[in-house]
Symmetry: C2
Subunit: 318 residues, 2 copies
Amino acid sequence: MPFHLSCSNIRTFAVRLKGNIQTMNKIANVAIVGGTHGNEFSGIYLLDKWQKQPQLLQRKGLTIETLFANPKSHQENKRYIDSDLNRQFKLDSLADESLTNYEQSRAKVINAQLGPKGNARTDFIIDLHNTTSNMGPSLILMKSDDFNKKMGAYVLAKMPNAVVVYEDQIPMLEQAFLASVAEQGVIVEIGPQPQSVIRHDIMEWMETMTHTILDFVELYNTDTLPELAPTYEAYSLVESIYLPQSDEGERLGMVHKYVQDSDFKPIKKGDPIFSLFDGGEICYEGDYEAYPHFINEAAYYDSNMAMSFAKKITVSIK
Amino acid sequence: MPFHLSCSNIRTFAVRLKGNIQTMNKIANVAIVGGTHGNEFSGIYLLDKWQKQPQLLQRKGLTIETLFANPKSHQENKRYIDSDLNRQFKLDSLADESLTNYEQSRAKVINAQLGPKGNARTDFIIDLHNTTSNMGPSLILMKSDDFNKKMGAYVLAKMPNAVVVYEDQIPMLEQAFLASVAEQGVIVEIGPQPQSVIRHDIMEWMETMTHTILDFVELYNTDTLPELAPTYEAYSLVESIYLPQSDEGERLGMVHKYVQDSDFKPIKKGDPIFSLFDGGEICYEGDYEAYPHFINEAAYYDSNMAMSFAKKITVSIK
């Protein structure tokens, strides 16, 4: 049987590790991952560009590698072959030898290559994604520690059209995302881009955000960050919202045009969010000001998910 | 062996038929087709809506049926299983018994059901499509006879944001499109919509255009059309433009952001049309003012097609 740490052990270990590296070069090994979903083209084409022009990725003190995570799904021009690769990185899934489909196997290989999760050789993973939603250049953070909070501030300073989303509601070690294999990991999520398309503007945003993050890591490592805004606005994931269905599971409506493309614009009680095929409407009845994102994302139809709701938060970097 | 007319015979027959029907009810049997491509959702969901509310399709003097052309590709959430269904309706393909893959078989079944092409029981086919390109509500016409020219004028009068495209460069009988099975057929092409997504606005445009076309047919049949503009602007297909490739077939660039989303906006000599991954640009060097459309359509990547070019034309309905 393979040896693996219990969850609480690993957390202690990670904290100790982090304590150590705060006095040294904080991030040394970086992995940039593209093609985790085979029909999200920007990252795949950027990996190819960086392979031809590796000097673009050079940063002082950093060893940067690239990884094409799901080549078979790209060959078949699909998000995945058997199951979503970006949901396979929970510790128990990685340890479960009975999970053997293509993406479950790829996850184990990637965990061996970049990880192992909980004690990873890679310090920081940047996982590149596209969405069909109008989210612009979004940076999804899984932690709200000093490193991530300052990264958000730095990226917003350099890319005024960027958006920072915190998905830090559960610890990194319990996350299922590929980027959670390392102690630090982010998801670069750029849209709107249809599946299986390369948009010039979207690829530029992804490239700029990736380079900005690498610049940040170099500056963070060497304690040479410029002065950052003491606070900034970001979004914190609250819940997923699902398309209306009948008791028999038949889809009864679609995302309302009032909310379509309005990612990160507030929704208040009474605003229409779904249009029913029979002509009716469903309005938002929640008790908080919701900031929708991943609105009408193509990949989420298989789970009937219509959008995510976030709350707006103010992040302080002090 | 099945009997089939030679091409020239069929054309004579069609002309004779048309001569006859000009003094009678011109269009009696209409077929509305959705799901010719399984990941173009608007038509598929509209068929479902019309099945539940058939009164929406009722028009005086018309028998209207609906057809879900490629259900298996929709189940698999793909454009097609084996080959593009909307390229299988050439007379020789329909007659070729050695063409047996799923879409080739579906084409033969649909031809038997709505056709046979050249002597079809269906007088008019409306085939419903989506595009990832920013084409808005587009009506693609395969003939420039009185019926089609007036249909274009009527649709533009009722939908000011609509666009009329003539793909009438070859005779209907030589077309490979599903809608060419009947003597009259049009393609309703609405975008931008990512594959495998239902957008409320796009579905409304498709529904409005379909109803407008049915209204037109009823009015045309009964010689009760309102006064139409004597001329209108439309687009006539000239050529397909392909993504830059190396001699080895490697893709070297993408659609330039200058032209992305600018369907039906003119391109002049010297305008950038491609951005190369190595940083370069390719500009338009043609000798006519080109109106691009189907810009960066996801489905055309398999043939490396980047966009279509049209010329602007003035159509006179006199």
